[in-house]
């Protein structure tokens, strides 16, 4: 009798898990990454909701960027898997646009802004396909959405940090993806760029696309995002901002590292 109940419960959990995986455009299971035998991310499960904006939040060294890079296969995880609607992510890379941290790029490289955006179309046109006039027009439209049309023929290294970040977002837009993964898009950018980026991200969300972003500014989490994944090597919490981003959970994630000023900046309601 007890055995049968357990078995039924087990089956139900399995069905629920399968449903979750098939509905989520980005689901991570048991992801562990280590650098030199020191875990940077340990056994993290995360299920990102379709059509929502999720912030990945946590203290420095919590493995936020590493989690994303490992999930996308940019660094090799020790274990774990990532799926898009239940399928292995490695087969769905064409539906994903990734905006890396600015530090990972060679800014002296001889490319103009428009060429960077066109890189977002390389996957579509293939190895030898020609970049046609329509592709160029599309790239310019993407630059227009981030307000960078005037800079199309500048060398990428001549732009300010905020402008560079917008160009990267334009390149991601050119990829026309279902899932947008961003690594600290607001780090070191001016206020106008921050507004421009968040507006574009909200447009993408309105179009039903999913956005996952590493975010470091605790005071804007509630304004910008629907969901939060709170991380400190292990997952601390996951869910809607109101539930997963409470004072207690933040204390648990940041420990003593959460400066009182930062905590004070948090809305009193949560």
């Amino acid at each position: 009798m007890v055995n049968v109940e357990l078995k039924v419960a087990g089956e139900e959990a399995e069905i629920q898990e399968r449903d979750q995986l098939s509905q989520s455009p980005f689901a991570i299971r048991g992801l562990t990454v280590s650098y030199d035998q020191k875990p940077a991310v340990f056994s993290v499960d995360a299920t990102f909701e379709k059509g929502r904006m999720t912030a990945i939040v946590g203290p420095n060294g919590a493995g936020k960027s590493t989690l994303l890079k490992a999930a996308l296969g940019i660094v090799t995880p020790l274990s774990g898997q990532t799926t898009m609607h239940g399928l292995p992510l490695s087969e769905q890379m064409h539906r994903i646009a990734y905006v890396p941290q600015r530090a990972s790029v060679d800014w002296d490289f001889p490319v103009r802004v428009i060429d960077v955006v066109l890189m977002g179309l390389y996957r579509k046109v293939g190895l030898l396909g020609r970049i046609a006039g329509t592709d160029r027009k599309r790239a310019l439209q993407c630059l227009e959405r981030v307000g960078m049309t005037d800079f199309a023929t500048r060398q990428i290294g001549q732009l300010s940090g905020g402008q560079q970040q917008r160009v990267f977002l334009a390149r991601a837009l050119a990829q026309d993806a279902d899932l947008y993964v961003l690594d600290e898009p607001f780090a070191g950018v001016d206020a106008a760029t921050e507004t421009a980026i968040i507006d574009v991200l909200k447009e993408l969300r309105a179009e039903g696309r999913t956005i996952v972003s590493v975010h470091h500014d605790l005071s804007t989490v509630e304004d910008y995002f629907d969901n939060v994944l709170l991380l400190n090597v292990r997952k601390v919490s996951e869910g809607p901002v109101a539930e997963a981003f409470t004072d207690e959970l933040l204390q648990a994630a940041y420990g003593g590292k959460l400066a009182t000023a930062q905590a004070g900046a948090l809305p009193a309601a949560i």
Binding site: K69, L72, G73, I74, M93, H94, I96, Y98, P100, Q101, S104, V105, D106, F109, P110, V111, R112, D115, V116, M119, Y122, R123, L127, L128, G147, M148, D150, Q155, S160, Q163, R171, Q175, V181, A192, T195
Partner: protein, 401 residues
């Protein structure tokens, strides 16, 4: 003599060498560009030095099998084998141990080269070794180049160029932004491997003409020179191919037109001349052009600051500003503005005010990003936008005299 050589009229051998050197130059320039973009120029030096033991071993093997030890395809095959081994060791040492890439390059380069020299000495003592002429691979030796050798260089060069064309997009992405390339589904290791294999191929076919010590120059100098001419990767690649090809062509012609001038070193010197010219003369990025631009900018800033001071009735202390204003007829040597100076000052002050308003208006944020202290606001905004700004500033002001 030189012009005869340049236009292939100096005999069969000279013509073969000139054509071979030109094609090699194009292939090396084009391939080397991606190596340059990836900032791995010195890996090619390790690869080229690692060819030497392969050449020597191939010779020993061929002779001991009773074949002609000087068979070029055989020697090049041998060189490719040890070059690949050297490349693999550099990769392995720099990714799997704590050694950095420069240390790995130094270790591999010297050990392989030393081993190669030992083998050459051994070959000297072999009965059939005296005429081997393998030292020619150190600095290139084009005397007695065969038609088949030229065909080998031409075919290899064309293949390298074709493969660079095929893989130009992934190679560009990997050099510019590895993480994005990976997330776009580019296989990083495979792309790097293709690039290094191309470099290895060019090195091997370049052994006969330029030699293993100098081939690195032909891979790196053309892109370094081309980089001065353009901020677009495609154009840098094409220019590097052109500079490499010209260096090969002119260098081979020079060495053919005078007795005892070594081909490889002359080609490298010609390439260097191209580099020096590019560095000095290239528009915008060249030394002359950037010095001129820098001076123009400095002059513009001084005059503008001077005019703003005049407009606000402040004294000017900076001697350079005073000199420039006086030379332009905008102020007297003691800093009192002329009539033209007053008019210009009023305009500059207005421009500054307009910028100030524009830069504080979030709606004009894009245009405001183009503020650099010199650009006139008329070049950035439309008349309508400017009249809106003006309505916020109020009427023009008198310049105090």
């Amino acid at each position: 003599m030189f012009f005869n050589a340049l236009f292939f009229q100096l005999g069969y051998n000279a013509t073969l060498v000139t054509i071979g050197a030109t094609l090699l130059g194009v292939a090396a320039g084009v391939t080397g560009t991606f190596l340059f973009f990836r900032k791995r120029a010195l890996v090619s030096d390790a690869i080229s030095h690692a060819t030497l033991p392969g050449v020597a071993l191939a010779f020993i093997v061929m002779v001991s099998l009773g074949l002609d030890g000087r068979n070029l395809p055989g020697l090049l095959f041998g060189s490719a084998v040890t070059a690949a081994l050297g490349l693999f060791l550099v990769q392995w040492l720099s990714t799997r141990t704590r050694l950095t890439e420069d240390a790995a390059i130094g270790a591999v380069l010297s050990v392989f080269f030393g081993f190669g020299i030992v083998l050459l000495t051994v070959i000297q003592t072999m009965s059939s070794g005296r005429q081997a002429g393998l030292e020619g691979f150190l600095l290139g030796s084009t005397a007695g180049m065969l038609f088949a050798d030229a065909i080998l260089i031409a075919a290899g060069g064309l293949l390298a160029v074709a493969l660079v064309y095929l893989f130009r997009r992934p190679m560009t992405m990997v050099a510019f932004d590895r993480e994005f390339a990976r997330a776009s589904g580019v296989n990083l290791d495979r792309t790097d491997l293709i690039m290094m294999a191309l470099v290895m191929g060019v090195t091997v076919i370049g052994l006969k003409v330029v030699g293993l010590i100098l081939i690195v120059a032909l891979l790196i100098i053309p892109p370094a020179a081309a980089r001065f001419w353009s901020d677009r990767a495609e154009i840098v690649v094409l220019m590097a191919g052109a500079i490499g090809g010209l260096s090969g062509w002119i260098g081979a012609a020079i060495s053919a037109s005078a007795p005892n001038l070594p081909t490889g070193p002359i080609i490298v010197l010609v390439a260097f001349a191209g580099f020096a010219l590019s560095m000095v003369l290239a528009p915008r990025r060249g030394l002359v052009s950037s010095a001129v631009n820098q001076w123009r900018f400095r002059r513009g800033v001084h005059i503008r600051q001077g005019l703003v001071s005049l407009a606000q009735g402040q004294p000017i202390y900076e001697p350079l500003t005073l000199r420039l204003l006086a030379r332009e007829g905008l102020a007297r040597a003691d800093g009192v503005p002329t009539d033209e100076g007053k008019a210009r000052a009023a305009r500059v002050l207005r421009d500054e005010k307009r910028w100030e308003v524009a830069r504080s208006d979030p709606a004009l944020e894009m245009a405001a990003a183009r503020y650099d202290g010199l650009t006139q606001i008329e070049d950035v905004l439309t008349e309508d936008q400017i009249s809106v700004l003006d309505s916020r500033i109020g009427p023009p002001q008198e310049v105090p005299s």
